[in-house]
Symmetry: C2
Subunit: 397 residues, 2 copies
């Protein structure tokens, strides 16, 4: 069996300036530009292997061990775009194998639970598109490839790049200028870290596509957000990244998360993604920043109750004096810290924080949190030799 | 002892178009006009008795049995305004007793728990101002008197009138055109009823005055709300009242509650008045309206987690088939319904609602609700012979 194989990992990204609202649902064109931080693939990544060959009889997809449909319009759009670019190469060089005519097998695995609401579709589509681009040996830039990933899942375009990433909304109706660009590589401001508090959701949230459509169609405040609020914030946040201005970056991040959730609440019927635990974490973050009289932590919430806390490495012990004290019972700490380091956080808390202030903290908050994921800024998709496909059969290993 | 005594009751009002934001903190001038429904004093009222006389040695206030300070700037402003109007009368007619020079004793009692977050300050200031206006035999119109109550507590001005009430924000810097006017008396649309679900709040909310200031100062979406959203809604909601257009009135009421809470969430730090129980009640209301494919109920939330559900009397059995089923264990039902009527609600629920739909309801919601208060639209302040002051001593009975 003649088979061509390629494998890639792709990262999760968590927006600090939120994407909410589509001006074109098929092309996934947004109503505003957005900004995100790409997270390390050591902690959160999708690994995708793809193969193609004349004997592959149909397009197939396996996701975390189960076969899934490839029929969705979004996936079909991605595959069609990739094949078109490959065909261009084949037209220019008749020696190239005619991969654009062959079916593909895609096998994909996350190293984190898909159900946890951790932007898995962004990493998933980024990995799928990058793996096929690699298989096809496409010479196009990452920004160019990001437009294809965008058609799979809007925020996936930002996972094509590492570090600090902007998704420029563009203006054109065909989406040809709606793409991800790097604001700065991770090396520019490498000490950006993230602690994700995975919050238990009792019920399924409104899916983000239908949620966006509802907000665009019914929220009176939404038009103001996209026209007057976000454009300024986009400029300010890019500038804050370039200048490594943490207090500004942090404040804009928190404000934009709140603004996005405010337009969800202003939708009709209203959409609620944050719950009382999420709100308790927001209050805790403001409490911590007020306690130190310094911006230590910035929260942001996507379309679900999980909190992503951004902070700078040099403030880690100040932050975790509180966070470890309150969430010590939640799993996830020992993957990054030794027992001695964790004990130090506890004694920092005991020695530095007055008993009077301790009373104001919500000691029950940890009951609504199932896991802490400790990670940091990371690079874009990576080629890998790890392969999920059996090159003899073209099926998952 | 020469004593002059007067007693008045005043109602609670619950806004359907929310007052949030002051353009002048001392005069309580709002950043937008608002609309409310005045609720029946059978269920929720403040009773205030006042007395004055040359032998009363100082201004004094008793509230629900405890002596309270009268020193607050707001109360002092109310008293000064009332004395100024009285002095005008005395200047015109030298036979009148010189009440404007004498101290006053004020004794006030609510027939509902003050702590429940049920707009008690609105009823309280309305009763205080009306009782003194009666004592002073002021000839001024209720709208004129409402400007004095407004200085005590903004929304108190709306409690000076019965039925459907607008608080016109006015334009003048001295507040002389910021007053309550009646859109329509209760007799115009008498079948408006309200069920208040008192939700347990675990912690004290942000006081509304400081909350408003925070929103005005920090929310980017707020300016859009007051400039572009509320002015249209104000016209539309007045029209809906005049036309007794329930579906429009209900939708605007729900949207405006959500819009107000959205600007709270967009404040920095964000303010949260609704909790997960409040949100559960919102979802339930949308579920009920969707179930009947008809607008049965409209929710609204003030600066706290309590839900006020407005509905028309003719839809009561449709609404309570759900609400009694889910909140039967909460006290408050037997004050308005016989055992047979309540049993009928339960059997309506069992017979009409399919088992499949029942599964979607949150059966635990009642655990977050401490009380249901069933009431309806009502008139403005009422004179009463009931007196809380011992006319021999000038002290509370």
């Amino acid at each position: 069996m003649t088979l061509f194989v390629a494998s890639t990992t792709a990262p999760v990204n968590i927006a600090t300036l939120k994407y909410w609202g589509k001006r074109d649902k098929t092309l996934n064109l947004p109503t505003n530009s957005s900004i995100s931080v790409t997270l390390s693939q050591e902690d959160l990544r999708t690994l995708t292997s793809v193969c193609t060959g004349p004997e592959i009889t149909e397009d197939k997809l396996w996701l975390n061990g189960s076969e899934e449909s490839l029929k969705s319009e979004r996936t079909q759009n991605c595959l069609a775009d990739l094949r078109k670019l490959r065909m261009k190469l084949e037209d220019e060089d008749s020696n190239l194998p005619k991969m654009s005519k062959w079916n593909v097998v895609i096998v994909s695995e996350n190293n984190f639970p898909t159900a946890a609401g951790l932007a898995s579709s962004a990493a998933g589509f980024a990995a799928l598109v990058m793996a096929i681009a690699k298989l096809y040996e496409l010479p196009d830039s990452l920004s160019e490839i990001s437009k294809i990933a965008r058609k799979g899942s809007g925020s996936a375009c930002r996972s094509l790049l590492g570090g600090y990433v902007a998704w420029e909304m563009g203006e054109k109706a065909d989406g040809s200028d709606s793409k991800a660009v790097q604001i700065a590589p991770m090396e520019h401001w490498p000490n950006m870290k993230a602690a994700i508090l995975v919050v238990s959701a009792s019920k399924k949230d409104t899916p983000s596509t239908s949620g966006m459509q509802l907000t665009v169609g019914t929220s009176d405040l939404f038009q103001h957000r996209i026209k007057d609020v976000v454009p300024h914030r986009f400029v300010e946040m890019k500038q804050a990244v370039l200048e490594k201005d943490w207090p500004t970056f942090a404040e804009l991040t928190m404000k934009d998360s709140n603004s996005f959730h405010a337009t969800c609440l202003d939708s009709f019927p209203p959409i609620f993604y944050m719950n009382d635990v999420s709100k308790g974490i927001i209050k805790l973050c403001h409490f911590i920043n007020a306690f130190y009289n310094e911006t230590i932590v910035a929260y942001t919430f996507d379309a679900g109750p999980n909190a992503v806390l951004y902070y700078l490495e040099e403030n880690e012990s100040k932050l975790f004096a509180f966070i470890y004290e309150l969430f010590a019972e939640v799993p996830g700490w020992d993957s990054k810290f030794s027992k001695d380091e964790l004990t130090q956080f506890l004694s920092d808390f005991d020695s530095k924080i007055s008993n009077q202030l301790k009373v104001e903290l919500d000691k029950e908050l940890y009951k609504g949190v199932t896991k802490v994921i400790l990670t940091h800024i990371g690079p874009g998709p990576q080629s890998t030799d790890e392969c999920l496909i059996d090159t003899k059969t073209g099926l998952p290993k």
